[in-house]
């Protein structure tokens, strides 16, 4: 595949220019995560008074930071596409010598830039407010962050595909859809407290393995490498399927003239 890196760079600077001026494009990455961190940090600090046998603050703060990774990774895949559509710039964009894959690569790089900034901010905030050190995860931090980012990406690609298919009607999915995964991902509780049918769904989600092992690492310092392998495998399958779905929906949008209607 021949990637035009100049076009990728063009998309990146186009959105960096917007971020510099559009406060909402920056604040949405930090605002909810920060308020969640403060709210759950205080709640878990209070609940710890009832001596429940383990450090609830660590588990909750860890979960909030990890969930933020998924949420941000996903939203930052969708926002550039929606932003181009809101600016009625999609026609200008796709009549330039750029492919869908190059656009997607640019959104991934943009998303990573914002994600790193958000993790650094939340990590610092968690340390100063609750003495939670993100590096307490040890080596687990690396596979966890990679897997969580992958989850955000495939959900993002799937939503991009739906936007090409259904247009503005489903733009709220960019913010809301990820929460469908939330109860099954065992973010704040173990998978075994879910009803049996929900446990089956949880087992199909790589996020449940990551959050289960996160608790294990924070409470006992151990994680199960088999679980990580399962998460990686599931993520790769979903990534391939979501990219295929996105390309199919884009082709479909070109065949049905929907791309121009989205403009």
């Amino acid at each position: 595949m021949n990637i035009n890196w100049s076009a990728v760079y063009a998309i990146i600077i186009r959105h960096l220019y917007t971020w510099r001026r559009d406060f909402d494009r920056v604040i949405d990455a930090f605002w909810f995560a920060t308020t969640d961190l403060i709210f759950w940090g205080l709640t878990s600090t209070y609940l710890t008074r009832f001596s429940i046998g383990f450090n609830l603050v660590v588990v909750f703060i860890g979960a909030i930071i990890f969930w933020t990774v998924i949420q941000n990774a996903q939203r930052e895949i969708n926002m550039p596409l929606l932003d181009e559509a809101w600016n009625r710039n999609l026609i200008n964009l796709f009549t330039a010598p750029i492919s869908l894959i190059e656009f997607v690569i640019a959104t991934i790089i943009l998303g990573l830039l914002k994600l790193i900034t958000v993790i650094l901010l939340l990590g610092s905030l968690a340390y100063f407010l609750y003495r939670f050190n993100i590096f307490d995860y040890g080596w687990y931090l690396l596979p966890a962050l990679v897997n969580l980012t992958f989850i955000g990406w495939w959900v993002g690609f799937f939503i991009d595909g739906l936007i090409f298919r259904f247009g503005y009607k489903i733009q709220s999915f960019a913010w809301a859809f990820i929460f469908v995964l939330y109860p099954f991902s065992a973010v704040l509780y173990p998978v075994d407290i879910l009803p049996h049918w929900a446990q089956t769904i949880a087992k199909l989600l790589p996020s449940s393995y990551i959050f289960e092992n996160m608790r294990s690492v924070l409470l006992s310092g151990k994680f199960n490498p088999i679980d990580i392998q399962i998460a990686v495998t599931l993520n790769l399958i979903y990534l391939i399927l979501s990219i295929y779905f996105l390309q199919l929906m884009f082709k479909n949008a070109l065949a049905n003239g929907r791309l121009t209607k989205l403009n």
Binding site: I11, T95, A96, F166
Partner: protein
């Protein structure tokens, strides 16, 4: 030597499948033929107008030429290469401007041009931006956000965007639609100057027939997805055989209708002014009859048919 063909369109057809609801699998599919088996060519350096009433298939044709809509059948060759197989290579050498698309409104003029220059992989983006801004007198607006620009300045910026990659072929979709007559005239002149400077081939759509007559070498006329005529603007206008004669009558109003009738003249009155539509060849006879019948008039003007008349006659046919 025959001029180089920049665009070759052969048997191009676009059929849209329309489904009305999310549960469309429950409904019968509806098919709409937007473009029906059209073929045309555009030679190097030509300005070709693509005209037709609303729903004629102009926009769909243009969008297929830009790769925004996939044709159902047919072949599009641009610069001698099949578009579907060489999309990126072809798009690098062409560009597009429409009054219906926008540029990111929070970006400044310079930032927008910088993004576009990088999209097209221009070797010296800053130098090229400088050159194109100078050419369109955009320098004073360099640091203004698009949201702050008037429609005239926005059109200029759109043009700068369109010519930034020195395109060999451009598609202009109603480029002056949002401008007042003075602004439109200025932009037309600038396009023609830029076209001359960059030796660009142009496909131009517009609803302003005077504009098309002024700028286009040739016109392709579409109706209901089919090409119904292809000629110079003057050639199309000549297909309308009737001319309009305007008279300011002094005497003989009652006789006038009687005299005009045998010539199949259509007469309309507005106070002392009379309009007669008649075949151009019958004018001398008609005027002779007027003088014999002592019909007196103080002013006379004869309007030859224009492209607009042709457009209106086709639109009228479409309605009936």
């Amino acid at each position: 030597m025959a001029a180089t063909r920049i665009v070759e369109v052969k048997n191009l057809t676009k059929i849209f499948t329309r489904k009305s609801t999310a549960f469309s699998f429950l409904h019968k599919k509806r098919f709409t033929t937007a473009v029906n088996n059209i073929s045309f060519e555009i030679k190097k350096g030509e300005i070709v107008g693509l005209l037709g009433p609303n729903g004629a298939g102009k926009t769909t044709t243009i969008q297929m030429l830009m790769g925004l809509i996939t044709p159902s059948t047919g072949i599009i060759k641009i610069f001698g290469k099949n578009f579907s197989e060489n999309r990126k290579e072809i798009l690098k050498k062409m560009n597009f401007s429409s009054s219906y698309t926008h540029l990111p409104w929070r970006l400044t003029v310079w930032e927008n041009l910088n993004v576009v220059a990088r999209l097209y992989g221009i070797p010296d983006p800053s130098g090229k931006i400088q050159q194109i801004m100078k050419s369109l007198n955009l320098e004073s607006k360099k640091n203004d956000e698009v949201a702050e620009l008037s429609s005239g300045w926005t059109t200029r910026l759109n043009l700068a965007r369109t010519f930034i990659n020195d395109p060999e072929f451009i598609l202009l979709d109603e480029p002056t639609a949002s401008l007042d007559p003075e602004g439109a005239d200025e932009i037309r002149k600038r396009i023609l100057r830029l076209r001359h400077e960059f030796k660009t081939t142009v496909l131009w759509t517009s609803h302003n027939m005077a504009e098309v007559e002024e700028v286009c070498d040739r016109v392709i006329f579409l109706t209901r997805g089919r090409i119904i005529a292809e000629d110079t603007p003057q050639g199309l206008a000549k297909r309308i055989r009737n001319v309009r004669i305007y008279l300011m009558l002094q005497e003989g109003r009652n006789k006038l209708a009687e005299i005009a009738a045998p010539y199949d003249g259509i007469v309309g009155y507005s106070g002392r002014f009379v309009t007669i539509e008649i075949s151009e060849t019958k004018i001398p006879q008609l005027l002779n009859s007027f003088s014999r019948s002592k019909i007196k008039y103080s002013e006379i003007s004869i309007d030859k048919p224009t492209l607009e008349d042709y457009f209106l006659s086709v639109a009228k046919e479409k309605q009936t």
